[in-house]
Amino acid sequence: MIEKKQLSEDKLLEKVTTTEYKYGFTTDIESDTIPKGLSEDVVRIISAKKNEPQWMLDYRLKAYKAWIEMEEPEWANVSYAKPNYQDIIYYSAPKQKPVLDSLDDLDPEMKKMFDKLGISINEQNKLANVAVDIVMDSVSVATSFKEKLGDLGIIFCSISDAIQDHPKLVKKYLGTVVPARDNFFSALNSAVFSDGSFCYIPKGIKCPMELSTYFRINEAGTGQFERTLLIADEGSQVSYLEGCTAPMRDENQLHAAVVELIAMDDADIKYSTVQNWYPGNAEGVGGVFNFVTKRGICYKNAKISWTQVETGSAVTWKYPSCILKGDNSIGEFFSVAVTNNFQQADTGTKMIHLGKNTKSTIIAKGISAGKSNGNYRGLVRIAKGATNSRNFSQCDSLLMGDKCGSHTFPYIEVKNNSSKIEHEATTSKIGEDQLFYCNQRGIGTEQAITLIVNGYCKDVLNQLPMEFAVEAQKLLEISLEGSVG
């Protein structure tokens, strides 16, 4: 009988591991690619290709010099063969020069790809009222709704365009929240980032639509280093979403992004991520290394809310954080991180309380299946001057099968005695009992798992903008298809 049970679990694991990655296609688009490897020259080439001003090149070179002195961090609870940084292509751009005003002029191959990704730009504009910026490999290829947003003074464009068209803003804020020297990957990104999104919401403006960026790695052997800078001026509001996919490739592809958010006094930023990079195959071959630095700063009464649904990537290293500098500012982090097969994730957040009466909330839900390893790592630091601050953390782990692992590493530092911190953590397994209960009510095992997982993630999924909550639910379903017997 034990054998029988074992058999059904094996069957389950087999099924999980044979679930295919839906976005694993490549697109034949002619691209402008520079040779492999990283050197000062490469940094100069990238900057020159983008026709950047001197200050930008200086910024890059300074970052590059810092980077060559730095060591790749090893403290995360993940193990992988470190990428050979000289074997990566640091710049690849689709040759077609995008025409922003008329998407009809896009390369038909590229259009086909967008359709496969489920992004029909025009359709999506009409239906969901979402402005989309699409970054493929290294450059931004399409930004929609630019004009409508422009009427409100909102700037939403690729960071390359921003460097050309809004140099003052970029110069003033770039690297202020995540300095180039912050860590190994932020230094690398600062040296070689080739594109990403830029967004500025003027004082008192409530952005009337969701802003969205889709990132896609297409070219083989390329790294993607996108840079996002989002500034919400005093009293403004914005909701921003990013989605990511990549083709299936045998080698690991590096993705090292930096995202900086600036919420001025009374501003409100909601930043949601649905990360679905290629996770590698069932044997753990290939997949994206997702080493990302995301951080936001909140001034007085400001609020930053991070929501992430992380289902992809072979290795994830990511800690979207909030610096609560202004009094009464609020930081939130809502996360669902799924690992399956051989995926590894070390993800969480940092909440740095500096201002008085600052509040932070952390809800992290990990789901591990297959032979994967999921870790939550979080820091709550309350400075001496951050009196009457509060933090609530809840870290839950859900295990499927008996070959996966899950760990929680909470760090708490409190320097005053008027603040209050609560931390809750649970670990559970999708029980045979729960499954049988659903089965007995006529609900098959696959659907039962979806139901149970969705219930488990509800607090986080509820934070996503409506249009994407459904997408995220489907993604969870696909990621865990066939997870139990």
């Binding site: 009988m1 049988f436 209960y437 089965n439 007995q440 009510r441 219930g455 488990y456 017997g485």
Partner: protein, 253 residues
């Protein structure tokens, strides 16, 4: 409707059911009684198809199909319902969402479209009334934070909505106070019809004062050792189980 023939089953090399024979016709209520560890809950689980039990022999004929050939969900689709002794919590899933999924999966198996929202809502309201369930209940999460009594009532609520052909009530009375017991029993009685049948598994005769059975069976050590009418339950209440179990033990040793 249900014919169990020489059913033998156990768990991890430990045979628990040692040859059960039982026949149930539509319109009937059968009570299965017996001391702790006699195999009552195992029987319920095996009929419903819980995987951890290994069936070593026999058959469970349900309207011409051997249930043993079917998965638990297929058995549910055919109209077999188990009211759990320990209902399971499913955090984050509302009662209404769970029941909707349950109904529609069953309809899908029967080749029907999902139930229209209006019809579903009407049905939910009607059955809530039947079981004196308060407003707000549908949006609570499945059994999450429910009291023992609420969990049991939730089982009978699902039974009322799903309208199964065969209902198995596994120790539905345990954990219920007398008022809750009355409401639950009353609900079960209202659901009784000429087209369905019920198996009531209980330790005590108390429940059978409210749900009056047509037949009573005593299960002991994996076998039905005595069957009779409802008066058997009273006799057991008076004299305990010893007088029959001792006799049976002699016979089987």
């Amino acid at each position: 409707m249900l014919k169990i023939n020489n059913l033998k089953a156990g768990i991890e090399d430990n045979q628990i059911l040692k040859g059960i024979n039982l026949e149930i016709k539509t319109g009937q209520v059968h009570a299965i009684m017996g001391p702790n560890g006699s195999g009552k809950s195992t029987l319920a689980s095996v009929i419903a198809g819980k995987e951890e039990y290994e069936v070593e022999g026999g058959e469970i004929d349900f309207e011409g199909t051997d249930l043993l050939d079917l998965s638990p969900e297929e058995r549910a689709h055919k109209g077999v319902f188990l009211s759990f002794q320990y209902p399971v919590e499913i955090p984050g899933i509302s009662v209404s969402n769970f029941i909707k999924t349950s109904i529609n999966e069953r309809r899908k198996a029967a080749g029907l479209d999902p139930m229209p929202a209006k019809e579903l809502l009407r049905k939910l309201r009607e059955k809530m009334e039947l079981l004196s369930i308060k407003k707000g209940y549908l949006s609570r999460n499945m059994n999450d934070g429910f009291s023992g009594g609420e969990k049991k009532r939730n089982e009978i609520f699902q039974m009322a909505i799903l309208e199964p052909k065969l209902s198995i009530l596994d120790e539905t009375d345990s954990g219920l106070d007398i008022d809750a017991l009355r409401i639950v029993a009353n609900g079960v009685n209202k659901l009784r019809s000429e087209d369905n049948a019920t198996i009531v598994i209980t330790h005590y005769q108390r429940l059978l004062d409210y749900i009056v059975p047509d037949f009573v069976h005593v299960l002991h050590n994996g076998r039905i050792i005595k069957s009779g009418g409802k008066e058997l339950a009273h006799e057991l209440e008076e004299k305990g189980y010893d007088w029959i179990t001792k006799e049976a033990d002699k016979k089987w040793d």
